[in-house]
Symmetry: C2
Subunit: 731 residues, 2 copies
């Protein structure tokens, strides 16, 4: 832990990537925002609220907690003191906007500096082209070649066609599974050479003819290898396996930047160009989705997210109504004697009703990731960002609003539809101060305890032991189960944003909540700093692409707090303050708009000035570089690395004159996939090198784990990326 505190930001970027470093900055931003606000609020508002003392003599019969005496509820209606609250809301908004602006500025320049300092990387020269139109009698490869040679004659370099290897990938995963079982049985046999392991042939080994396990798996493997060979041939020979997608590379960053930012064709749904994600960030499966299908998918998913956010309680309530003891006894009468035991009965009665909800909340992030996958994004980083956005909506409606207003989100929605727009902030605003105690508890249970769990890595520990018990059969399995993973953005970012929301909303209303938020940020900062430095492995690098979302959600929190204060004050008969508070959201929105136009392009586009400067620098330092060879198989589907070398030539960028692998590694300092570069001599017919990280855990009992790892781990580079600042210092 102490070493973790000593590392500078540059070292963290070097060690764990910019994503992690900027992720930590969210916590320091929280501290920077809330430390002055807390001091100011406690010093000014608490005395103002306490001395008002309405609650001391008014309605003594009601149970008012001491916290309420410190809150805005304690101020008499129509009191002049509300102007202090309004003044502070202005001060806080100004302070938060100021900090947000500074931070956005800093992160944007960090990102640009990071991108500029990056050594040559395949994605800087490459653009992903989707929706290549089908011309009869000509392959997609030829179309791409011709189109870019015509329209980017000076910069076009080469292309990497994308093959539909989804079926083949499935076979490879199956082969792996079989290999694993084979290893397990061989291990068993070695330990007990007297007894050859046997098993049933049928479903899950539960019934069917009893056979020798080792023989059985060897035979199965053989059969599968044959299938794989067929599939491999099909991919190589069948022109239909070439997708209308291509990774097009240019001879300069400038050329790629131009192609990525411009419209190529008359028909704007064809020849869609975009920056290619890092090779390890690509979600290969979605490259095969056609454009028309994408728009339909987007519609369906947005409707489903809406349904999920507002109606998720309906199926859960249904399951809960089934999962009571009477229902259980009816369905399974043979369990009655067990259930009727007093100890078990009381346990079940306490446990069952919440079970469905708990399972749901546990698998929710996974469900959201799957939804994002269905939406068709082609990079893991985008998938996680989109899942985080969905999770945030869920938390906002169900945790924040759901806790303030009683009833399910669906009931709220119904109520809001039948209320006037001005009534809604009032309804919520009025209950805001009363819920302060609840949210303080929430921060302690969910925030503090969650962070403590994170440092002990409770959740992974439990999962690891569960896996160890039921699934781990070989050493390879064990290694795979111990993979620490990386920062869980889809879950962490939204809950982080929720704490910002709570802090900002309660800053003026019940300032006593602020120290709890502060403690959370400080504690979480230390813990995540430690985890990032010592535990996590980086999965991909998006160069802080999530920052615009963080920024805009803090702005949204500001707007929510302003509206709720407006509602709250209007119930306090401080109507003369309304104009003052109406101006604030307009100014905030305007600030957001300005920040968006000022900084967001740094996260979406790559300025030509930068590209050109980097190109010129490159040309000056190493003029005789063979860029084509460098890009040769950067964007090859990782599955192809299992192909024979002769076959590989077929699918690589440079069809005609492949360079020998040794040549390539010596010439280039860091070809993008370290996996392939480090093992150029690995046996060509088997990709999953024993020293590489575990590739796949088939775990039918945990749907969460299944869906998440199942698809992410097709290609997983083993070493943490050390290429960033590091190399730049050398050159």
């Amino acid at each position: 832990m102490p070493q973790a505190l000593k590392m500078t930001e540059a070292e963290i970027i070097d060690h764990a990537g910019l994503d992690s470093a900027v992720f930590l900055r969210i916590y320091t931003l929280g501290l920077k925002i809330f430390v002055p606000i807390t001091i100011l609020a406690l010093l000014i508002l608490i005395p103002v609220n306490v001395s008002s003392g309405t609650l001391f003599f008014l309605r003594k019969e009601l149970v008012m907690s001491d916290i309420d005496k410190l809150s805005i509820s304690n101020v008499r209606p129509q009191s002049i003191r509300f102007f202090i609250h309004i003044a502070l809301e202005y001060a806080f908004t100004t302070w938060i906007c100021f900090m947000l602006y500074k931070e956005y500025d800093h992160v944007a320049s960090m990102r640009l500096r990071f991108l500029a300092s990056k050594r040559r990387r395949a994605e800087q020269f490459t653009v992903v082209v989707r929706n290549v139109p089908h011309v009869s009698g000509r392959s997609a490869v030829d179309s791409v070649e011709q189109f870019f040679q015509t329209n980017h004659p000076n910069t076009y370099l080469c292309q990497q066609a994308v093959y539909n290897a989804n079926t083949f990938a499935k076979l490879v995963r199956k082969r792996d599974r079989l290999q694993n079982w084979l290893d397990y049985n061989q291990l068993k046999f070695e330990r007990h050479p007297d007894k050859r392991p046997t098993q049933n042939k049928g479903f899950l080994g539960l019934w069917g003819e009893r056979v020798d396990s080792i023989e059985y798996y060897k035979q199965q493997m053989k059969h599968l290898e044959k299938n794989m060979a067929l599939e491999r041939q099909k991919i190589l020979k069948d022109s239909k396996s070439i997708l209308p997608v291509s990774f097009v590379s240019f001879n300069s960053r400038w050329g790629a930047a131009v192609c990525a930012q411009t419209q190529q064709s008359k028909n704007p749904t064809l020849w869609l160009t975009n920056w290619a994600p890092e090779p390890r960030d690509i979600y290969w499966r979605n490259l095969a989705i056609p454009f028309m299908s994408l728009t339909v998918r987007k519609l369906i998913i947005s409707v489903s997210v809406f349904a999920l956010v507002f109606f998720y309680m309906i199926p859960i309530a249904f399951v809960q109504s089934l999962a009571n003891l009477e229902g259980l006894e009816k369905v399974a009468p043979f369990l009655r004697p067990v259930i009727e035991l007093k100890f078990i009965k009381s346990f079940l009665q306490g446990f069952l009703p919440g079970l469905a909800l708990k399972i749901f909340l546990y698998i929710l992030p996974t469900v959201l990731i799957i939804m994002s996958k269905i939406e068709g994004f082609i990079a893991h980083s985008t998938l996680e960002r989109r899942a985080a956005a969905k999770y945030y909506y869920f938390m906002l409606v169900n945790v924040f609003l759901g806790s303030i207003i009683a009833g399910t989100a669906f009931e709220q929605l119904d109520a809001f539809l039948h209320q006037s727009p001005t009534q809604i902030p009032r309804t919520i605003g009025v209950s805001i101060p009363m819920k302060a105690t609840f949210f303080i508890t929430y921060i302690m249970i969910d925030g503090w305890a969650g962070i403590a769990g994170e440092i002990l890595r409770l959740k992974p520990l439990i999962i690891f032991h569960l896996k160890n018990m039921f699934l781990v059969k070989t050493e390879r399995d064990k290694e795979r189960a111990m993979d620490p993973g990386s920062v869980d953005f889809p879950e962490t970012l939204p809950s982080l944003q929720l704490y910002f929301l709570l802090g900002i909303v309660y800053a003026v209303v019940t300032p006593i909540l602020l120290p709890f938020v502060l403690v959370f940020f400080a504690f979480a900062y230390l813990v995540y700093r430690h985890q990032i430095i010592n535990v996590y492995n980086q999965k991909y690098e998006s160069a802080a692409a999530f920052w615009p979302h963080v920024h805009s959600r803090i702005i949204a929190s500001l707007l929510i707090s302003q509206l709720l204060l407006l509602g709250l004050l209007s119930t306090k008969k401080a109507a003369n303050s309304t104009p003052l508070l109406v101006i604030l959201p307009i100014l905030t929105l305007y600030f957001h708009k300005y920040c968006k136009s000022r900084f967001e392009p740094a996260f979406r586009k790559y300025p030509l000035e930068e590209a050109m400067a980097k190109d010129l620098n490159d040309r000056a330092t190493e003029s005789e570089l063979n860029l084509k060879a460098y890009l040769a198989d950067a964007y090859l589907h990782p599955i192809f690395r299992s192909f024979e070398e002769e076959e590989l030539v077929e699918v690589k960028v440079e069809k005609n004159k492949p360079q020998p692998a040794s040549d390539r590694t010596s010439e280039l300092s860091s070809p993008s996939p370290p996996h392939q570069a480090n093992h150029p001599s690995s046996p060509p017919h088997y990709v999953y090198h024993p020293s590489s990280p575990p590739q796949h855990v088939y775990d039918p009992s945990s749907p969460s784990h299944y869906a998440y790892h199942y698809e992410n781990d097709i290609y997983h580079p083993p070493s943490p990326p050390h290429y960033a600042y590091h190399y730049e210092n050398e050159s």
Copy 2:
């Protein structure tokens, strides 16, 4: 008129530009949409409604017009017949979307074809660069030069610096005015040689010393010429008169397309690049506005538009309260004997109250144009489009909603804020059928009569005669006053869209309104076709850039009609139909989104494929073209054409080696500003060639005319553009 009907669309494009041709297509689109809808609605809905006959026996005491018997009001609540209305709403929506899709497709391809067929034009090679950063010790010209030579080394050709000539332009306009007075007085003297014209020196010639007019104006002119010479020197010598804006030209369309679509600099608020508008379309004054000021201006204008739409009645009511007879008598007691005359009194009583409103509505388009100018758009076409958008909001709120719900827009806003969102469509929906008679009258008075007025050109005729009476002094003035102008987009487009809205909303509710809309579209089509072919002069060519607005506003009309039908049916207790009608807006919105992504880029960007094809074609046909000379002064502020030739060299693109004018004209078939090309030998110190159209009418009595023509007419090319299809056929 008969010839007007014979012209094909291609001929119209050739004769009056694509804008006019596509403008006519809006009317044919209206016909295509409403003819089948009218037939279907009349055949199906009228029998259904009439036979329901609720109104015959129910509440006979109420005065129900016959039109109501044909409308949906006549159907019994909870009737099964409402499903016929819903089915027709679905059918109409599908039909309208289908027609919109086809039309958008057609217009987009027309636009691309038009752009492709255009002969070489300066704006195809030119990008306007705004916010050139100020580097101390270096002029903006040098910065631009260096930046583009570095970042677009292969394509950068030359630049045209922009000089702040606003003061000089003002002096030129003043000189013109004096020249006009001088001519007038000389003419007067020629007619009556016995009497030299004299005038007073003071304000408006009303008082002051009496002097000889000819001498007086000559002297004034002399003085002004001296000032102009000083100002001219200042522009040429002072580096501050060079604005941080530049027209940067490239050696190929491809290069310009790349530069216009990409981000140039790290800081996205610097080096902003955009396609340059046509030279004649540029609104020079706004080029001097800095970027930061632009964002503030946008905020202010959007707040003002909101205020204008919702609160415009407040000042008018105030003026009206003043402008009654008692008030008048109080202010001007000497008028009492006149006012008390019975005839005059009744006239004033009928006339005064509406006067303020009438004046307001008359000057509204001008006010909106001025607002758009303050917003800082740099092209006349954009200004007009934005003014049209603002006018549409005004019409939607004050004409459509204002007529349906009693009360001012402000009162409506207040009511809506205190109603639930589901209540609003009900409130409006319920009154929709009752207002059918009013809107039929409105269509007849405003639509039919307006069109009739248009063919007679009543408004221009009145203005012309007013001007003739008070202002026209010389032949030049007369010519100027007779300028027919062009299609008045800011006024015509919004009212057109209002008729679409009325047709779509009433299609299901009161189908008897449809024939009136149909007649309007047919009549207006014929009239505008005639006007465009025989009367109007084209002012600029935006290649149908307004179409996306037309499209999205028809979609908005569809959404409004669906919501109102939903509200109407819910008051008819047909609640079981709600789910059916909720799906419809979602599908419509989705259709809109699809159209946007499918077609809008054709209106915003210029595909590289197109640019490259045109470049290659160019290179093949004329290889030895001197593009630099061609672009030499295309983007020169028109005011500079009055400079001495030697001075002109200073400000032109090619500072060092200017080509002689004769050389240029012979080499190029149609350099962009015909004005300059046709009169290369015109006296260099006086730009306003007598044969060119009138440049400026200073008309203080008509604020509308003042603001509109005052700034538009700085540069006005005389000949209708014949370059479009025409040249393509030759090559």
